[in-house]
């Protein structure tokens, strides 16, 4: 089932495989990893394994550039987090950071080689407006959206439209909960917020607890539009799990929290695919516990058919005859999970037939 054409996860599972790579294989590896946004992380892996000398001279700059950019972004994110902290302190709000920026703030392994150009904040819903106006004062402006999207955001989404600072590349997303109000699974944001912990060495910056952070990464895998960086997100999860597993009682805590939030089924799938692509170690008892809640053989087969294709790099060389079908299926599935049918049908209709008419993408040429 595993497509031999997919080289990125192959190298993560078995870095030594690159010793036998032809120049043609390197060509495919670089293109797939670039598409998956995993060039820098792959480079760091090869450096750690003492294998960077095996990278052919002609391909080397692709890896080095990706790593250098990730480092620059990490420095930039830290600088902006400090700036945001000062701004939110004035409102008396703690700065709760999510996703990539949180990995940077907490100094996690998952931050290494991770391109991050967005800062995601968790803010209690009643404070959303205040935070937005504070951001505006500091030159972060709402990214302009078509009118339909703007209305949709205001009514249904879990976040305000992105805020872009004109002077730097980072986009800020302010969330009041981790999944849209319309989604099937809806972990209580107040619970996440209450347990957020202060980062040692980064005062007044808060991140989710280990298990909440992992469950958040799990929900994103199955709720993000079209999974543009599916394999990267899965690799994040792999690194988060490997690091978390060194904490005492991590797995029982994770399972308990997943049950509390009714996220056992998504956790089952996420662990299934993270093991498939990255050989992530998962204890037998966790495995057994989750197998009990597994879906029927037939639905599992269908899900495998879809997600093993979807999570591979979105690159021509990884695609087979069913990839495009799988992508359409996940598009529908993520929307299905995010919205009840009475919203879903009009939304997809608008996206399919009306948005293309209104969008006037001018040709951008250098």
């Amino acid at each position: 089932m595993r497509a031999p054409a997919e080289l990125v996860s192959l190298v993560f599972r078995n870095p030594d495989a690159i010793r036998r790579f032809s120049l043609g294989d390197w060509d495919r590896l670089v293109r797939q990893a670039r598409q998956a946004d995993l060039l820098a992380r792959l480079h760091i892996l090869l450096l750690q394994e003492g294998l960077d000398g095996e990278i052919p001279a002609v391909a080397r700059w692709h890896f080095e550039v990706a790593t250098a950019l990730a480092e620059c972004q990490s420095t930039e994110i830290q600088r902006e987090l400090r700036q945001l902290r000062t701004m939110l302190e004035r409102l008396g709000l703690p700065l709760v950071v999510l996703k990539g920026a949180a990995y940077v703030a907490a100094g996690l392994i998952a931050a290494r080689g991770r391109h991050i150009d967005e800062i995601d904040l968790l803010v209690p819903r009643e404070h959303l407006d205040e935070v937005e106006s504070v951001l505006k004062l500091a030159d972060w402006h709402t990214v302009e959206l078509p009118e339909y999207d703007q209305r949709y955001f205001q009514r249904w989404r879990n976040d305000a439209p992105s805020q872009q600072n004109l002077r730097c590349a980072t986009v800020i997303n302010v969330h009041h909960t981790i999944l849209p109000d319309t989604a099937r699974f809806r972990p209580d944001a107040a619970k996440l917020h209450r347990r957020a912990t202060e980062v040692p060495g980064f005062p007044s910056i808060f991140v989710l607890t280990t298990e909440d952070r992992i469950l958040h990464a799990v929900t994103l895998l199955f709720h993000d539009d079209g999974l543009p960086h599916g394999l990267r997100d899965l690799s994040d999860l792999d690194l988060l799990l490997r690091q978390a597993a060194t904490e005492e009682d991590f797995w029982p805590r994770l399972l308990a929290r997943a049950e509390e939030f009714e996220l056992i089924r998504p956790l089952f799938y996420a662990l299934r695919y993270v093991r498939y692509f990255f050989d992530t170690p998962v204890p037998v008892e966790v495995h057994v516990r989750l197998e009990n809640t597994a879906p029927s053989k037939a639905s599992l087969k269908l899900m495998d058919g879809i997600y093993k294709r979807m999570l591979a790099p979105n690159h021509l060389s990884c695609n087979d005859a069913f990839t495009s079908l799988a992508r359409h299926a996940t598009y529908l599935r993520t929307h299905w999970l995010r919205r009840p049918p009475r919203l879903l049908v009009p939304h997809l209709f608008h996206k399919a037939f009306i948005s293309p008419l209104l969008e006037n993408r001018p040709p951008k040429v250098a």
């Binding site: 032809s22 120049l23 043609g24 390197w26 060509d27 670089v30 293109r31 670039r34 598409q35 052919p56 002609v58 391909a59 700059w61 692709h62 080095e64 550039v65 250098a68 950019l69 620059c72 420095t75 930039e76 730097c168 590349a169 690159h315 021509l316 993408r361 001018p362 040709p363 951008k364 040429v365 250098a366």
Partner: protein, 311 residues
Amino acid sequence: MKLLQLPPGELRRQLAGSCIWLRTGPFSLRVQSRLETVVEGLADLYGQFEVRNPRETFADFHVAVDPHISLRRWLRPMVNFSFDGIEPFSPLPLDQAYPMLEWGLNWCVSSHAHQYLMVHAAVVEKNGRAAILAAPSGSGKSTLVAGLALSGWRLLSDELTLIDRKTGWIHALPRPISLKNESISLIRAFSPDAFLNRASRDTAKGTVAYLRPPKESVRRQHEPAQPGWIIFPRWVADGKSELLPRSKQQTFQSLTQHAFNYTQLGAEAFRVCSSLIRQADCYDFQYSRLDEAVAVFDRLAASAVAGGAGN
């Protein structure tokens, strides 16, 4: 092997089939296209560049220019540029297929090659010193660079100044020079032997034609050059050609505005830019006649040699 050494028909066959592998400056490309204008453009302009059997090689950028499939193609055929399956631009009319390839290649470099500080500027070299010509479009930068390249200056690039972040030297990418509107006839008059390809009309930039890069510039494309001058050219209707010193502070500011990746590189960009400014002389330059302009540049290069700055 050079592209012009390919047997007749082979270029067309490779471009339409798997692809052709081509080296331009520090970058290797795989280009694919079934369009006759693209075959013609490459044959006309890239004859001196190295090609290889594409099988089992590595290429930095995989690009294609192909017909855009839509219902409208029956009314007005359109073409698409794609980079490894991504289409960064909206389709353009068929007649603009060749310029679209060139614009697409510029995009590939400017959005990926962060091992360089990349400045949106032309660059030419004489006696071992490079002149960076930075200016907004419409200021006569391409005309000036074409005139210089046709008068014994080595062409490094007409659009992309690639500054090595470690050494501060400039790497050459001597692809064809893009000429727009009146500058096409101006260059034809300036140098009747110069080869320009078939013009594409009504593009976003008006009429566009490409000047074949001088053979010598292509032969020396792997030789980096030391920065010597940063010059901001401006064409004026009537007036004498003159170089006016420009403050380093002001030059620094304009340079960061012209850089593609100044923000991405963070503090490193500041360091590379400052060291560049320190070693270069900075000028504003206005001109109305190309031959006079070339003479001014030649004197500049000669004075640098006399002053011992060439080493």
